[in-house]
């Protein structure tokens, strides 16, 4: 029956279902876990955006963290300077800001490929957060901007712990964005993105406007990044350049590769991994009484190892592995040797 409904409806229903499940989950868990659930949320949309750009469209971006930076600072500045705006307007503008930046980046990068593109986006990741030092009056330098957001309607304050409420807001935004993303990925744009990734010349011969497609991919992906950054700022109440290092961009890429490069579900596995690697290494550090030098760097070392292992042994990531399992469960494996 589900197959008969248009994909948009299916995605919306799935989103509503997921939201319901999440709300229930937040009731069943403590505030700490609620915060983690919310964190998985904004990482999910960040990695999903990267999945569209790098996975579907093949443009290797090492600068995704820069778009999160833009989104976070947009929200922070708006909350501080224009407190009259409701939070959803701030988040929307963060998304737009990310998108505009992505439009510019995509236009600049449209003719770049492979390592050239990776290098240019790396330069963006290194260079953009440094802007906070250049304009300290506006952007408060390395200390960053701190603020408080009261997003709960007056009637609900006190009845629901703020972390739970925040988790709902985050996931509402994330699921909405995911519905949009899933529709784009499933439809014509998704096919076009993949066509351009697989063979630009062939796609162009088939009538696809390659440059426009690549810029569009950047736009959508960085809008997701902007939203993710905005949600992070909303959740943490701060925006500081120290959160948006090169390591962040590389970690997002690691999460994408781990989850499965060309898939939105992979983004979910990757986001969960990002949050829980941190949790596990923190717990491990406590159990083993590791120095802070080791425990701080352990997650990064882990991501690096993950990237190497995945690329050497499991190129399709977690989602690829799951897909293979699913296929094998549904029908027995056909004979490997081709009969000639």
């Amino acid at each position: 029956m589900l197959n008969k409904l248009p994909p948009v409806v299916v995605h919306l229903l799935a989103a509503v279902g997921a939201l319901v499940l999440l709300v229930l989950l937040t009731f069943a868990t403590d505030p700490f876990t609620n915060l983690r659930i919310a964190t998985v949320g904004y990482y999910l949309i960040a990695v999903a955006g990267l999945a569209l750009l790098t996975g579907f469209n093949g443009q290797v971006s090492l600068g995704h963290g820069a778009f999160m930076f833009i989104g976070a600072y947009t929200v922070a500045l708006l909350v501080k300077r224009v407190p009259a705006f409701p939070i959803w307007a701030d988040l929307l503008l963060a998304t737009v800001a990310g998108g505009v930046a992505g439009l510019l980046a995509g236009a600049a990068a449209a003719r770049l490929r492979g390592p050239y593109l990776a290098g240019a986006t790396l330069a963006l990741a290194v260079g953009l957060p440094a802007v906070t030092q250049r304009f300290p009056e506006l952007l408060a330098g390395s200390n960053g901007l701190s603020f408080t957001v009261n997003s709960q309607p007056a009637g609900l304050v006190g009845t629901i712990p703020s972390t739970r409420w925040q988790a709902w807001i985050v996931w509402l935004a994330v699921l909405l964005a995911l519905v949009v993303l899933a529709n784009l990925a499933r439809g014509k744009l998704g096919r076009t993105l993949r066509a351009v990734r697989d063979d630009e010349v062939a796609a162009s011969l088939a009538g696809v406007h390659v440059g426009r497609t690549k810029i569009l991919a950047f736009l959508v992906s960085s809008a997701c990044g902007g939203l993710a950054g905005g949600l992070q700022a909303f959740l943490l109440g701060t925006a500081a350049p120290g959160s948006f290092t090169v390591a962040l961009s590389l970690s997002l890429l690691a999460a994408l590769v781990l989850g499965g490069l060309g898939s939105l579900w992979g983004a979910l596995w990757g986001a969960i991994a990002l949050v829980y690697f941190q949790v596990w290494t923190d717990d491990l550090a406590e159990v083993l009484s590791l120095r802070s030098d080791i425990s701080d760097n352990l997650p990064l070392a882990l991501y690096g190892v993950v990237l190497i292992v995945i690329v050497l042994a499991f190129p399709a990531g977690i989602q690829g592995g799951l897909r293979k399992l699913w296929v094998r469960v549904r029908r027995p494996a056909p004979s490997q040797r081709g009969e000639l």
């Binding site: 492979g114 330069a123 250049r134 590389l250 080791i294 690096g304 050497l312």
Partner: protein
């Protein structure tokens, strides 16, 4: 006037470092068509080893030598263990693998030597407009670059390495041990990279010290054309001087973005870099 002279001289010595690190990237790219994103991390670990050796023995030059040796060995190991298995796996895999290595090595250096910056000495006196340290940097890079270029152009080893890079299959048919050539190429490149690291790190070493320099080195390599060593050296020096002006006139914080702007504008006009060879795509 003196400002411009100062800025130019400062740019020259930093440009020498970008040129050296860029050269190490180009050597590897020519040999294996891989951009070694882990290069700054290999140089970083070499520099940290130098730091520990110098601290332990009191000799800067002993540390320097240790850095070069360790760097070379690391480069050899990385090619043999990580890059060789991925030879047929496609461009994205090599990029991801070297990025993974970058993360691991940066994290490991933080684990062993802590994230806090340590003071790191220059080779020579660093005071003054164009100090002994600056002069050493420029000379060291020029001599190394000349050595590498001479190696490639005039020795049989260099000829074999070039052949292995340009056409590994044909090279094999001519009796060249291609695998060995690639490994040596990585070792050589890492040695050059470690030199660049030793010049770039002072006055402080920390896990993220070389991030910015790497971006500039990559920019220099791309500007010069990823397969053109001489172009990279020129590109590095020019970039160093240009960015020095940006730093002096617009503020040091904007330098990475300026590099990005330069990179994007040059590639927009000449997609293969200023001196690069654009290869026609086979359809």
């Amino acid at each position: 006037m003196t400002t411009f002279v100062n800025l130019t001289l400062a740019g020259l010595s930093s440009g020498a470092v970008y040129a050296a690190l860029g050269l190490s990237l180009v050597i590897i790219y020519r040999a294996t068509r891989v951009v070694n994103f882990a290069q700054p991390a290999l140089a970083l670990i070499s520099a940290y080893i130098a730091y520990s050796v110098t601290k332990g023995t009191g000799s800067y030059w002993l540390g320097f030598a240790a850095a070069i040796v360790v760097g070379t060995l690391l480069g050899l190991a990385v090619e043999r263990l990580l890059i060789r298995p991925l030879r047929d796996a496609g461009e994205l895999s090599a990029i991801i693998a070297t990025l993974g290595l970058l993360l691991v090595l940066q994290a490991v250096s933080g684990m062993i030597w802590s994230n806090e910056p340590h003071a790191f000495s220059y080779a020579f006196d660093f005071r003054g407009r164009f100090s002994a340290a600056d002069l050493f940097a420029v000379l060291a890079v020029v001599v190394t670059a000349a050595g590498v270029l001479l190696l490639f152009k005039f020795t049989s080893l260099g000829l074999r390495m070039r052949a292995a890079a340009f056409n590994p299959e044909v090279a094999r048919l001519l009796g060249v041990r291609v695998g060995v050539m690639l490994t040596i190429g990585w070792g050589l490149a890492s040695a050059v990279g470690s030199l660049a690291g030793m010049l770039a790190v002072p006055p402080f070493i920390s896990p993220t010290t070389l991030d910015e320099v790497f971006v500039f080195a990559l920019t220099a390599a791309v500007l010069g054309g990823l397969d053109n060593p001489l172009g990279t050296i020129i590109g590095g020096l020019a970039l160093g001087i240009g960015l020095s002006y940006v730093s002096g006139l617009l503020g040091p914080e904007l330098v990475p973005l300026a590099a990005l702007a330069i990179l994007v504008s040059v590639l927009a006009v000449r997609p293969a870099g200023l001196f690069g060879r654009a290869t026609a795509r086979r359809v």
